[in-house]
């Protein structure tokens, strides 16, 4: 194994001593720094091959320091270490050019492996890709050519006032793209207001978009500024725009033509300065042909199209996203996962991902909450993912077509019960597997914790009633 010069940047002396001992014993030359200032001086003097960088430092932030070090020496490899394994942190670290993101605790073997991997990567490997470095902090992971094209398009449209029409399947990150455009635009200091046109009843949508005055209709007990007014000076993002009621489409068209809003019950319209971004997971032209979407509004909105690619069309992105976020999820849940087994990697690579990135993240979260590491194996995957795979995945070498069956066998005891009973069994079992944590179970089941509390309360009342009878 190659001997390397390693700089440890860690403010807790106990941990410094542990890391130093492990790396020295592995034959590396090690220097340690307790603060950002000490680290900068040591980096200039030593020009280390690898930097082991804690995120939280008494005089600064390890992510920022990572950027500075890589700007000075793009061939340095930085391994970020933290106890704060949040998804946001992992994304930040990778974007700053970190080679790896280690979440404490990790044993000496894991540390040595990370250093060995870092040294094995070619010179300049730690340098963030140019398009990623230039992109806003958009929370979008993946270095596929499809995502590079998305980032380039975002960078080129951000400075314009043009309306951007974002299309893509559910879970591809349309709102993230809208936020990225806003953040990279001259309006970044202004508000970003998102409105889901499909989630608001038609009769309330006009008031949600344009606002109303007190007494304008029954229930209007106070003045309410609409989303368009709230976004004044910033960006208004209309998600699921094809779901908008036809009557309101007419008003939206007028708003786009005149840049004025007319709150319900207001005596006169007022000017607002808003950039419009919109999105849909439908084919907007088909909606136009079906008469569900005004053609003139479509052409007014469809100035710059931006298509978010499906995860199955993004090459190795599913693997990259899983590798970047698995340690973060594990840290959040207090688990020890570090990677995917070979067959899970193959399955992820060939999967069709009908729910796209959202489905991948939900599957990872589900695995981490209900199991423990260090490696994600096929038997840990949610049954629906394996079932999807059986129906729609590209063939994966080494996997028998009937491999999904053992998962489905577990449904046996549920068959023959009412749907309400099945729901109660699944909820209670999930809570039990989450160590009794209702919020954690709610994350797995993708519902609000209050929903679970409410259901359990109702079951308890039913139980008391039955006991009293």
């Amino acid at each position: 194994m190659r001997t390397a010069d390693i700089l440890i940047v860690e403010d807790t002396p106990t941990l410094r001593m542990v890391f130093e001992s492990a790396l020295t014993r592995a034959g590396h030359r090690v220097e340690a720094a307790a603060t950002g200032a000490e680290a900068e001086a040591a980096f200039e003097r030593l020009r280390p091959d690898v930097v082991l960088m804690d995120i939280h430092l008494p005089d600064g932030n390890g992510i920022e320091l990572t950027r500075r070090f890589l700007a000075i020496d793009p061939d340095a490899r930085v391994i970020v270490i933290t106890a704060d394994g949040s998804v946001r942190r992992a994304v930040e670290a990778m974007r700053a050019g970190a080679q790896e993101f280690l979440v404490k605790p990790f044993d000496d073997a894991r540390l040595i492996a990370a250093v060995t991997n870092a040294l094995a990567a070619g010179p300049g490997h730690s340098r963030p890709p140019a398009e990623t470095a230039a992109a806003p902090d958009d929370g979008m992971l993946g270095t596929s050519s499809a995502m590079a094209a998305v980032r380039a398009r975002i960078a080129s449209v951000a400075r314009s006032m043009a309306t951007v029409f974002i299309t893509g399947e559910s879970g591809t990150g349309k709102e993230l793209a809208a936020q990225a455009i806003h953040r990279a635009s001259p309006r970044a200091a202004g508000p970003f207001v998102a409105l889901n046109c499909g989630a608001i009843p038609g009769d309330l949508l006009e008031s949600e978009v344009f606002g109303h005055l007190r007494g304008a209709f029954t229930g209007a007990v106070a003045d309410k500024p609409g989303a368009a007014a709230l976004a004044d000076g910033g960006t208004l993002f209309l998600d699921e725009v094809c779901e908008m009621d036809l009557a309101l489409q007419t008003k939206l068209l007028r708003f786009l033509q005149t840049a004025t809003i007319h709150p319900v019950g207001a005596p006169r319209p007022r000017k607002v300065d808003v950039r419009i971004l919109c999105a849909t997971n439908r084919d907007p032209q088909r909606a136009v042909r079906a008469g569900r979407f005004r053609e003139d509004l479509y052409y007014r909105l469809h100035v710059v199209p931006l298509h978010m690619p499906a995860l199955r069309d993004r090459g190795e992105d599913a693997i990259e996203i899983a590798a970047a976020l698995l340690p973060a999820f594990a840290a959040e849940e207090g688990k020890a996962f570090t990677g995917l087994s070979d067959d899970v990697t193959a399955l992820f690579r060939g999967h069709r991902w009908p729910g796209n990135v959202r489905q991948l993240l939900n599957a990872l979260r589900n695995v981490v909450v209900l199991n423990d590491g260090p490696v994600v194996t096929r038997t840990m995957l949610p049954a629906d993912l394996l079932a999807d795979g059986a129906e729609g995945a590209a063939p994966v070498a080494g996997l028998a077509p009937g491999a999904v069956q053992p998962q489905l066998d577990g449904l046996g005891p549920l068959v023959g019960r009412t749907l309400a009973e099945v729901e109660q069994i699944v909820i209670e079992e999930t809570i039990a597997r989450c160590g009794g944590s209702v919020p954690q179970a709610a994350r797995v089941l993708d519902v609000a914790p209050s929903t679970l509390y409410r259901k359990r309360d109702a079951w308890a009342r039913d139980g008391l009633r039955e006991a009293a009878q």
């Binding site: 106990t14 001992s21 492990a22 014993r25 106890a83 404490k104 605790p105 309360d457 308890a460 008391l464």
Partner: protein, 143 residues
């Protein structure tokens, strides 16, 4: 209190649930996992084990003080930074109970009174970890 009202109470008064969880120590596992800590001592080496134990004591004291002060000031950000540092240190030492307590998801939204309880609970657990580390190191010294 009947069962349903107790459940409603825990659902809508997070403070009560937090206090119950912070105040209920679980003694089902040792403060420090013996094999994890033994591996660390092997890694550090006998010659430097006193220095290592001194660092552990000093780091736990320092972080414990930061948590105490943050709880007194109701400074959530400082508390979060200190508990993150404690979680990482404790996990590395094999003090899983302390690490889990430091990462307690309800701490950030706990009412001020529960925060004090949280800090006191951490302090007790820190003391247990500190003494367990010293005891385990002593046990490995040659007679």
């Amino acid at each position: 209190m009947n069962r349903s009202s107790a459940q409603v109470g825990s659902a809508f008064s997070p403070g009560a649930g937090v206090a119950a969880q912070f105040g209920a120590p679980r003694e089902d596992r040792p403060a420090v996992d013996v094999s994890t800590f033994a591996s660390l001592l092997d890694l550090i080496g006998l010659r430097r084990s006193d220095e290592f134990i001194a660092h552990i004591g000093s780091d736990l004291d320092t972080i414990g003080r930061r948590i105490d002060e943050a709880a007194d000031r109701d400074d959530r950000r400082a508390l979060s930074e200190a508990t993150h540092a404690l979680a990482g240190l404790a996990a590395t030492l094999g003090a899983e109970r302390l690490s889990r307590l430091a990462r307690h998801p309800d701490a950030a939204r706990a009412p001020r009174a529960s925060l004090r309880l949280f800090a006191d609970r951490l302090e007790a657990e820190i003391a247990a970890v500190r003494s367990a580390c010293a005891r385990l190191a002593d046990a490995r010294r040659p007679i």
